[in-house]
Symmetry: C2
Subunit: 260 residues, 2 copies
DNA sequence: TCAAAAGTGTTCAATGTACACCCATGC
DNA sequence: GCATGGGTGTACATTGAACACTTTTGA
């Protein structure tokens, strides 16, 4: 079974070499939200304790964005997600702390591989971030990884390559995006309460906000529909459930007139 | 002489093939400002009437950003400029309206070239925009071009590839940048008047502003130093000259707290 | 002395911020 | 009945927008 996986991996590498663009790759910063925590999907590289961002390659006849969507779907099982390109990383030193020989050894690939294949090649990598609904995603490792799971954003370990920096840049872009576009769809369940939405904003921005002003502001943008109250059996007033009005939400996304 | 240039071109293409990264390139949207007009530097492709953005390739041991700076310097003669990555374009169709054979014929290269070289390959291209001082730049075509000159932004013709779209995206990013960072250094001469600065803002944003409110707002950010009055022999009150206080200007750039 | 363009200040509206009171619910 | 957390409204401060008058200068 381990043999078979190794063979699959060999085939995938061959496919990559013959059918994808050389020198370019993409990396995904996949954000989720659960228990009041912002989370990121990370992969553990085969036979190692090294974690990194999920990535992907671009097939010769595939659009860049399509490749990003495909990779995202392969890692989460989800489609129709929010996906946004945020920066392209191209420093030569990006890969310096991991040699080709090491990588091939770690992956358990035959030694002769080293001559023919640059597994750790110097790629320019296009960074995308995605917002996904934590409960619906099924983290799935690719053939290069043993494991794929969520990490709290403030507990992310030192990652391979320049992936920690990528997360920083992604988060910065996400925060900026928050100041002119609404957020929440794809990060929250279909129905959610106002305190939940506020918690999301506070978590992303890393600061707390006034409950009453938050509600006023969000409601003033007319992107929410109020539903029934949530009966959750807690010892306090039941909060209302809300749902995004997708027409209005889309309009706000396009017009970029949502100010926060 | 034409022979010699053709040889140089051949050598450059060989150098590109052997020493730069395949599948990745970069394109430059170089903004200048003159006579109250926002301008863009365009190149006319060798032996054609087709205009396009200046571009560049990345050497194997060169950082992406360094490659962008190098290309910018080659086209303008300037260094220490404002340069900002804004988006990476990777649609397969980007190149579709120009075949490899056509390109090679147009460039006056030998026909046998067609077999070996994909001059119009499917590249993912990283877009950068730059702000340069119109009067100091010396537009210089590369070996692929006959001509390199400024165009008013509202007179830009239909360009090759997806370059018109690139300009749109660059301009949109520039406008957004204007809302949280100061601008003007690298686009204006060292000393400039308040009306000049305002004209720059109005041109970039495409809307006129109140003279008095503009002045108040800009001055409140403490990034300007007032100098002597400008004696220009015009039949009206002489405006003050200003200069950017670079310490404050840099601080404002970094803190992104400049709100416009 | 007049037109053109620049400097400065005031008023008002809108927006954002701080803050207080009431309500529903389970223990 | 009380602690917890949620809903709503009001007062104040800050910011942004609209607007008018004065100054300098060359023709």
């Amino acid at each position: 079974m381990a043999e078979s996986k190794s063979e699959l991996l060999l085939n995938l590498i061959k496919e990559y070499i013959t059918q994808t663009l050389p020198s370019v790759s993409l990396d995904l910063v996949i954000f989720g939200f659960h228990d009041g925590q912002l989370k990121i999907l990370l992969m553990r590289l085969l036979h190692t304790e090294h974690w990194c961002l999920p990535g992907g390659r671009i097939y010769q006849e595939e659009d860049l964005e399509a490749a990003a969507y495909r990779s995202l779907q392969e890692r989460t099982g989800l489609h129709e997600l929010f996906l946004q390109q945020f920066y392209t990383f191209g420093d030569v030193a990006r890969y310096r702390h991991y040699t080709n020989r090491e990588a091939i050894a770690k992956l358990g690939l035959p030694d002769w591989f080293t001559k023919d294949v640059n597994l750790i090649s110097r790629d320019v990598s296009v960074g995308y971030y995605a917002l996904v609904e934590f409960t619906r995603a099924s983290p799935t490792p690719d053939l290069f990884a043993d494991e794929c799971r969520w990490w709290n954003i403030d507990e992310v370990p030192t990652l391979l390559f320049d992936h920690n920096r990528m997360i920083q840049v992604a988060l910065k872009t996400l925060r900026r995006q928050l100041s002119y576009q609404p957020i929440g769809y794809n990060l929250l369940p279909d129905k959610f309460t106002m305190p939940q939405l506020q918690q999301l904003y506070e978590t992303i921005l890393g600061q707390s906000m006034d409950r009453r002003n938050f509600q006023k502001r969000i409601l003033s943008y007319d992107i929410l529909e109020r539903l029934e109250k949530l009966q959750n059996g807690k010892a306090h007033k039941a909060p209302y459930l809300y749902r995004f009005n997708m027409d209005q939400y889309q309009k706000a996304l396009e017009e970029e007139r949502f100010l926060f």
